[in-house]
Amino acid sequence: MIRKLMQGNEACAEGAMKAGVDFFAGYPITPSTEIAEILSRRLPQAGGKFIQMEDEIASISAIIGASLTGFKTLTATSGPGFSLKQESIGFAIMTEIPCVIINVQRLGPSTGAPTLTSQGDVMQARWGTHGEHTIITLCPASVEEVYYLTIMAFNFSERFRTPVILLLDETIGHLRESIDLEKYDHIKILNRQKPWVSPDKYLPYATEAGEPPPMAPFGEGYRYHVTGLVHDESGFPCTGNHAAIDKLLKRLNNKIIAYLDEITLYQEVKTEDAEHLVIAYGAAARSAASAVALLRREGVRAGLLQLQTIWPFPEKLIYQKSLGKKTVLVPEMNLGQYAGEIKKVLKDKTLLVPISQIDGQLLQPRKIMAHLKGEEKHA
């Protein structure tokens, strides 16, 4: 066991190194900047590359380009920069180019409060780029989870040929905790599949059994075309072919949704006999864990479902875990972005209690407890 005291952002950089990151491009922004600073030192030590670009659009474009040469790539940002990256996130989805995007959430909209915590970008992670699409988003609640989920973000990205978003918040990004670096040594590091056919037989977007298509790095003899336009298996535009468009968009969705169980990562505390279930993610899940422990001491049967994967929405899991509960509480540092999704699953069969806080302070356990005891009016 190697225990080390680390900041959340540092654990993110170290998790990326563990996952085999080769390339980082970014633009400084609080509260994510430490990730760039650490990787500017760490990457060249390992023979990798770091570049500070002129803005966030350039940064995501550069990592998509670098990924096309076979590199594992990463960018890190916060709210305003995350907004700028949206168009190119859609490009990476459409062209199936793996990359990882870290968003250490700060309070918005606009410049908002750079140093204050928030979970305001949950829906932006889901729907920030235009057009129908599906995206994987992971959300850690501790420094150790930052390390673990950064590795998983790269693994999912490589496995499914898709951009993956890691949503931290200021609290988790700047939190210092002691973590066990060897705990996750057993995780197999995944790398994208290269084509096994010869270049003359290579169809860059042809798939077998719903698996993502094998990806040839630029420069290795597979000369092919990559475009953000709708395209068929050959990679060339198919704007006039509605059947091919339908097939492409459904495949991009299904290649992720078909593996929802594998992608859905979560933790649970005393959910089985719980009367009251708290569903939470990120920093709010830490407060929820404390609240559940304190409530149990008082004899209240509370439990916690902590989602580490928030997108795609783990509908089945939430349905099963909520079954038979008296109340489902959803604490989040926004005005109920995720609670709204959960409401669709519960369909008024279970009382849903959204607990919101948007003042830039960490949502406290006592607030969750007060809601459960009816001391605080439900928003």
Partner: protein, 273 residues
């Protein structure tokens, strides 16, 4: 005797016919580019051509290299990622004047400044072709565009001057009216170990030509030829004769360290070698 080129072998002939209008300059630039590739005997497997969005940017679909058709304005940022990741690749960006200097202006400045070994070919038709003829930063003042029905009041940008000031190490301007010169400039740009810009004066007869009554393609090319002067001839001209003329040829050539080579040194330092 003129040299014979086999440019067909670099084309994806099954993707023809191309989408460009009859008389458009894009095909002429594509042909000059391929003659340059053939002259330099570049290995197609190692050539990466990247474009943005626009009529001109559709060029990547027709070229049998590693091709990447990106987002509007960002091809240089994608190119920077590719070149830094794998400096052994020959990275060429071909795009339009709007893509390169309006929405992509920021990336244009900084790729010049870093002096990344990329060749940028900007097909300057002085208009936004793909979206139907709106004015671009390269539309001359006083000319008409779909969004300048009373005449454009914005002065045009000299992208070659900007590129040199920002740090590009080879800056050249050619035009579709002089295809042999253009081919030669593209060769020099690819050979330069650093960032190179080739601005190509081109024609969009359908929008720019029609909106400004420039006549047919032949007349547009004739106009281009008559209004350009080779930098080599500048000293031979009478004073005042340069007024309103556009300079062509190699406009600037400097030596500065190249970005990816500098980064290799950083890796050595970081590794304590």
């Amino acid at each position: 005797m003129p040299k014979l080129f086999n440019v067909k072998k670099y084309l994806r002939m099954d993707k023809m016919p191309h989408i460009w209008c009859p008389g458009c300059g894009n095909g002429m630039v594509m042909s000059a580019f391929l003659r340059a590739v053939d002259t330099l005997q570049l290995n197609p497997d190692k050539v990466v051509v990247i474009s943005g969005i626009g009529c001109s940017s559709r060029i990547t679909g027709y070229l049998d290299f590693n091709t990447l058709h990106t987002t509007h304005g960002r091809p240089l940022a994608f190119a920077t990622g590719i070149k830094l990741a794998n400096p052994a690749l020959e990275v060429i960006v071909i795009t339009g004047d709007g893509d390169a200097t309006a929405i992509g202006g920021n990336h244009f400045l900084h790729t010049c400044r870093r002096n990344v070994n990329i060749t940028l070919i900007v097909i300057n038709n002085r208009i936004y072709g793909m979206t139907g003829g709106q004015y671009s930063p390269l539309t001359p003042k006083g000319e008409n565009a779909a969004t300048a029905p009373y005449g454009n009041i914005e002065p045009e940008l000299d992208m070659c001057k900007v590129a040199e000031a920002a740090g590009a190490t080879l800056v050249a301007r050619g035009g579709t009216s002089q295809p042999v010169l253009l081919e030669d400039l593209i060769i020099k740009a690819i050979e330069n170990r650093g960032f190179s810009l080739v601005e190509v004066l081109s024609q969009c007869p359908v929008y720019y030509g029609r909106l400004n009554k420039k006549g047919n393609v032949v007349e547009m090319l004739k106009w281009q030829k008559e209004n350009t002067v080779s930098v080599k001839d500048v000293n031979k001209l009478a004073p005042g004769a340069l007024k309103g003329k556009v300079l062509t040829g190699v406009l600037a050539a400097h030596y500065r360290p190249e970005y990816t080579e500098e980064y290799e040194k950083i890796i050595k330092i970081a590794q304590g070698k």
